[in-house]
């Protein structure tokens, strides 16, 4: 606790790549290459486990104590993304590196209005909210079960697959 750390989730609010890769919810490069897979960016031991029950394939395990970090069983994950809207921390994403020849698909939870329109071009942002690429909105999913959390799918240039985790907020004046 006494160590001075100037990067990482506790100081910046953004999990570092090391923190993510050392967490049990982050899929391997090998699995990422195979196709769509959940990426659980939950690196702190907080009492929370809805993700475990959200997965119908048993690919996410928290167990006891409830503060365990969620473990992703990447071989069981079919990449359906059903877990995304059920994480109260909005910390689960879906990444599909095989979406097209040049593009990857990122799915993420989104709780702002207005929702982006399918096929529109938007600014894709990284974990710090920095615009890093243009993205095409592929899908906008809403459902009573999701309880006001929309799940947005965007296509982005493949090289940003480890960076993009959302889109810039649509404030009408700035983002069109």
């Amino acid at each position: 606790m006494a160590k001075e750390i100037r990067s990482g989730i506790e100081v910046t609010g953004v999990a570092s790549i090391e923190e993510l890769k050392n967490s049990p919810g982050f899929p391997s490069e090998k699995r990422l290459k195979k196709g769509p897979v959940a990426v659980i960016e939950c690196v702190q031991e907080i009492p929370c486990d809805p993700c475990e029950k959200a997965c119908p394939f048993g690919a996410i395990k928290v167990g006891k104590p409830i503060t365990n970090l969620p473990v992703l069983y990447e071989d069981k994950c079919v990449g359906c993304g059903r877990c995304i809207p059920f994480c109260p921390g909005l910390a689960i994403f879906l990444v599909d590196t095989t979406f097209s020849e040049t593009e990857a698909l990122i799915k993420f939870p989104y709780e702002y209005l207005p929702l982006p329109k399918v096929n529109s071009l938007v600014d894709a942002v990284d974990r710090e909210g920095k615009v890093v690429a243009k993205a095409k909105v592929v899908k906008v999913e809403t459902s009573d079960k999701y309880d006001h959390t929309a799940v947005i799918s965007i296509a982005i240039p493949k090289r940003f697959v480890h960076e993009v985790r959302g889109i810039a907020l649509n404030r009408g004046d700035k983002n069109g």
Binding site: G13, P50, P88, G89
Partner: protein
């Protein structure tokens, strides 16, 4: 003088849960709140709660509130709103003002669930219109649907500061930054990450030096602080904002408990002076129970569980529940509470809660 079996003071998550538990057991419960609507702060919690299914994780606070109100109605709890309790005297007599009339109530058992109030931080300019508690801003946006400002500076990065920042973004405001005097973010990383993705910087080891404005907030000057929490000259930065929200923790509203003679203990981890209580939530005054933020500032999930404990205890004391039944149910609640107090964010609170129980035992013996 009016009479009731159980008087519960405060209709937030703790008070509602306590009232429901006791009324479901068959006791006659009067639930009193000074506000026009019940629910305490639950109805402005529009985010999904954490925890497990047993804690209603994944459900938004506002919906948990609705469910509690329905259970309150169904269990036959009598609810008095716009009713101020101004005194708690010997023999469990409450001084109240109800619908403009002064009166008193004698109760066999009293459950205090008065909650907590936001801490202020003073700096030059802190009295300018536009400086407010983060909870006040949250009430404005989520209850009254009024945006307190267009561009906001948040002071404090505990879960309240982070969540309210997120909700201000959702409501359409811009959040210029979250400023945190400590070297680390206080709240959950996932809450911090949400607002970072939306482009909000979180500036640690910084605080507000002053707020500038003619007749309202026009800008805030922030500056770095050293390890002694003193401002470091030359590090000032000016942010153009029209609103400053303060999320610097909460203090238990222990006035009635003090007045009743409940012994309190100073525990900064729980927000300040907290009434000493046992595992059944009984204070050092027999028949006076405490629950929720008054018994140590935590979160709504904990408050509901503590309310249930208090409700079960009074129902048992009044003979509405069998000992073995209460024991089983109490164990379930304690188990759920324990789960909310483990891990790096919960340990401190857990230790502090144990100190309260130990202090009670030292004073009044086992039981």
């Amino acid at each position: 003088m009016l009479e009731t079996e159980i008087a519960v003071i405060g209709a937030g998550p703790a008070g509602l849960s306590a009232a429901i538990e006791a009324a479901q057991a068959g006791a006659k419960v009067l639930l009193i709140d000074e506000n026009a609507k019940p629910g305490g702060q639950l109805f402005k919690q529009i985010h999904k709660f954490f925890g497990s299914k047993a804690h209603r994780a994944g459900v938004r606070g506002i919906d948990i509130g609705r469910q509690l109100l329905q259970e309150t109605r169904e269990s036959g709890v009598k609810v008095w709103l716009n009713c101020v309790v101004w005194g708690l005297f010997e023999d469990k007599v409450l001084g109240i003002v109800h619908e403009g009339k002064s009166d008193s109530i004698k109760a066999k058992k009293i459950i205090l669930a008065t909650g907590a109030s936001e801490n202020a931080v003073s700096f030059p300019g802190w009295t300018l219109p536009g400086v407010m508690g983060a909870g006040a801003a949250q009430t404005m946006i989520n209850i009254h649907r009024v945006l307190p400002g267009k561009r906001i500076l948040m002071l404090g990065s505990g879960n309240v500061g982070l969540i309210v920042s997120y909700q201000l973004l959702q409501a359409g405001a811009e959040v210029a930054a979250v400023v945190e005097a400590a070297p680390k973010i206080g709240g959950y990383g996932v809450h911090a990450s949400k607002i970072r993705r939306a482009g909000v910087p979180i500036i640690t080891s910084h605080t507000i030096k002053e707020v500038i404005g003619e007749s309202q907030v026009e800008a805030a000057v922030i500056a770095a602080v050293n390890k002694e929490w003193s401002l470091i000259p030359g590090t000032e930065k000016t942010l153009e904002v029209d609103t400053v929200c303060i999320a610097a923790g909460l203090t238990p509203l222990a006035e009635l408990a003090w007045m009743a003679g409940c012994e309190c203990m100073y525990l900064p981890e729980l927000g300040g002076y907290v009434p000493i209580h046992n595992e059944k939530m009984e204070s050092t005054i027999r028949g006076v129970y405490v629950a929720g933020d008054l018994a140590g500032v935590e979160e709504a999930s904990c408050a509901m569980e503590e309310g249930r404990l208090a409700g079960l205890s009074v129902a048992e004391e009044l003979g509405y529940l069998e000992e073995h039944e209460v024991k089983r149910r109490r164990e379930e609640v304690v188990e759920r509470l324990k789960a909310l107090r483990i891990g790096p964010f919960g340990e401190q609170r857990d230790k502090a809660k144990q100190k309260l129980v130990q202090a009670w035992q030292k004073k009044l013996g086992q039981g």
